[in-house]
């Protein structure tokens, strides 16, 4: 199976090698701080988008509240460093456990809800979480917490003076998540998720425990998004609820996957590149015109979603069969 995974995907791995090489060299060529920043954010959103894609894309359960897990990942890392001087190398995984536990308990009741009801409930859920965190004095409340650890070893505490270190480290994380998703793409697990998305009655009739598989997908999704949140907190060394746990963040997570191509391996990565680039540039160049950046950003998103509902992957897929699952193994 392992051998086959490499063999049957030779073309894909070749493409990946080229992509990674480009990702490594690009910031060396373009030595602009803003671009480095942008590239690092793209990686965070790629991870988060891939995470959402598991439950929203592959399994078809559109969660509009994934900022909850993003926030949990960020807060765990932040508070662990601030309160307990704990290295993020450890606390990232604590965050993953916390997110999966929360996903387990909220997923059980929520995943019974269908379609829009589920979407709205998850939205309400993350809003509740945000309000709880705002009122949580020990956790920093509404003002948040700076998590910079003084005199700490750069690598041990993941606090780099050179911004490119963040980029390269996050690249490794993103790559790991991508390989995991690629591996799962043709697995029993993901085929079951696609079946659930396609038709739950049919899924049950071929012996799929739909409730159990949805829950597993939700937990895996939460875990990956949590890692994204942890890395983001580590990058900006600051946490607060109105930055991490808003509806905006939830929407951005959904859009990353939707724009790139829902239920595809490469979709969230392409979506992250497009969306983060658009949003960072509109923020910088139009941000001072009070909200104009958001308007333009919204319009661009609508255009892309309207004219290419299959996401960017589907545009490329028509010509290159690039990462689109219709390209058959």
């Amino acid at each position: 199976m392992q051998k086959n995974f490499l063999k049957t995907n030779r073309g894909w791995f070749l493409g990946l090698a080229v992509g990674v090489a480009a990702a490594v060299l690009f910031p060396q060529v373009v030595r602009v701080r803003f671009v480095w920043n942008l590239l690092t954010l793209i990686l965070v959103w790629a991870i988060v988008g891939m995470g959402w894609n598991v439950i929203g894309g592959y399994c078809g359960q559109v969660s509009n509240g994934h900022s909850l897990f993003y926030g949990l990942g960020a807060y765990t890392v932040g508070l662990a460093a601030y309160k307990f001087k704990l290295s993020p190398w450890v606390s990232i995984w604590i965050g993953v456990l916390i997110s999966m536990t929360v996903a387990f308990f909220v997923g059980k009741p929520l995943l019974r809800l269908k379609g829009h009801v589920f979407a709205i409930s998850t939205m309400a859920l993350s809003e509740c979480a945000r309000i709880i965190f705002i009122n949580w004095k020990w956790g920093g409340g509404a003002t948040g917490v700076y998590i910079f650890t003084k005199n700490a070893n750069e690598w041990a505490f993941m606090q780099f003076k050179n911004p490119l270190n963040y980029y390269y480290l996050f690249l490794v994380f993103a790559l790991a998540v991508l390989l995991l998703i690629k591996y799962l793409d043709k697995s029993k697990f993901f085929y079951y998720l696609r079946t659930i998305k396609g038709n739950e009655t049919a899924a049950e009739s071929v012996g799929i425990d739909t409730a159990a598989y949805k829950l597993r997908a939700y937990m895996l999704s939460a875990a990956i998004v949590s890692i994204g949140g942890s890395l983001y907190a580590q990058f900006i060394l600051y946490i607060d609820p109105s930055m991490l746990m808003t509806l905006n963040v939830s929407m951005m997570i959904v859009l990353t996957a939707v724009m790139g191509g829902v239920g595809t391996v490469m979709g969230p990565i392409l979506g992250a590149i497009a969306l983060t680039t658009i949003s960072e540039y509109t923020r910088v160049y139009l941000g001072r015109f009070g909200g104009l950046d958001m308007v333009l950003y919204g319009v661009l998103v609508i255009i892309i979603v309207l004219y290419c509902p299959g996401g960017i992957v589907s545009l490329l897929g028509r010509r290159l069969k690039f990462g689109a699952r219709r390209g058959k193994a």
Partner: protein
């Protein structure tokens, strides 16, 4: 002779509507049993009760000696009851082989094993040529065949077929009948709902006649066709031979 399926005094009410009332009969291992009855007689409801789509209001369903009445649909499938749907429930965004694959994965963890099994099932069902066609592109007869293939891929001991031949031409029907016989020859017991009387009578060992949610009669095809009540209630009752 042991019974693979025993239905005991099963009743299903939808609010005030009694879709199945006090139904009792059994399927012997290895048998093909036909289920006939006019539209709305409760045939599909009966299948839904057996396959765990919903639980009966009263009564029990026993499969291979185990009471499966309260079990969920996916558990019942894992235990060995496969089913097709009257309205095909294909996974339109997946290719034919992937539709069958999700069935094959029911009893298999390993992908290669499952894919090998898919090839066998597709060959059995005469769908090898359609392997990489998207299910959404299939016509209705092909979709009905895909329903059978997907159910067969789960390695059922008992197969429930809900009007798999409605809308087929005479030649297609012949193919379908031979497929059912082939499946039965591999040791799978079959319960099949069919409107076409010629088909039911030729393929079934025994026939259950349902009228208004009740069992009117259980018997061999000869007994059923010659029974005056059946002629009155069903054959003579304006029900056409091909169903809708």
């Amino acid at each position: 002779m042991d019974h693979i399926l025993v239905i005991e005094q099963v009743t299903k009410r939808f609010g005030g509507l009694v879709a199945n009332e006090d139904i009792s009969f059994a399927v012997t291992t290895g048998e093909i049993v036909g289920v006939v009855g006019p539209n709305g007689a409760g045939k599909t409801t009966l299948f839904n009760l057996i396959s765990g789509e919903f639980a009966p209001t009263q009564g029990t369903v026993v499969f291979c000696g185990t009471d499966i009445t309260a079990m969920k649909a996916h558990v019942i499938c894992q235990r060995g009851i496969g089913r097709t749907f009257q309205i095909p429930q294909s996974l339109d965004d997946m290719m034919v082989y992937e539709n069958v694959l999700v069935g094959a994965l029911c009893k298999r963890k390993n992908m290669e094993e499952a894919l090998a099994h898919v090839d066998e099932v597709l060959a059995l069902c005469g769908m090898t040529e359609l392997k990489t066609v998207y299910a959404g592109k299939l016509n209705v007869p092909q979709k009905k065949r895909l329903e059978i293939a997907r159910a067969m891929a789960t390695d059922p001991k008992l197969l429930l077929l809900d009007e798999t031949m409605a809308g087929l031409t005479a030649t297609e029907r012949k193919d379908a009948v031979s497929l059912i016989r082939k499946i039965n020859a591999t040791g799978v017991s079959i319960l099949t709902i069919e409107h076409n009387m010629d088909v039911v009578m030729s393929v079934s060992n025994r026939v259950v006649v349902l009228v208004s949610g009740r069992v009117l009669l259980v018997g061999t095809p000869e007994e059923v066709t010659s029974h005056p009540d059946v002629i009155a209630a069903y054959l003579g009752g304006g029900a056409n031979q091909d169903g809708q």
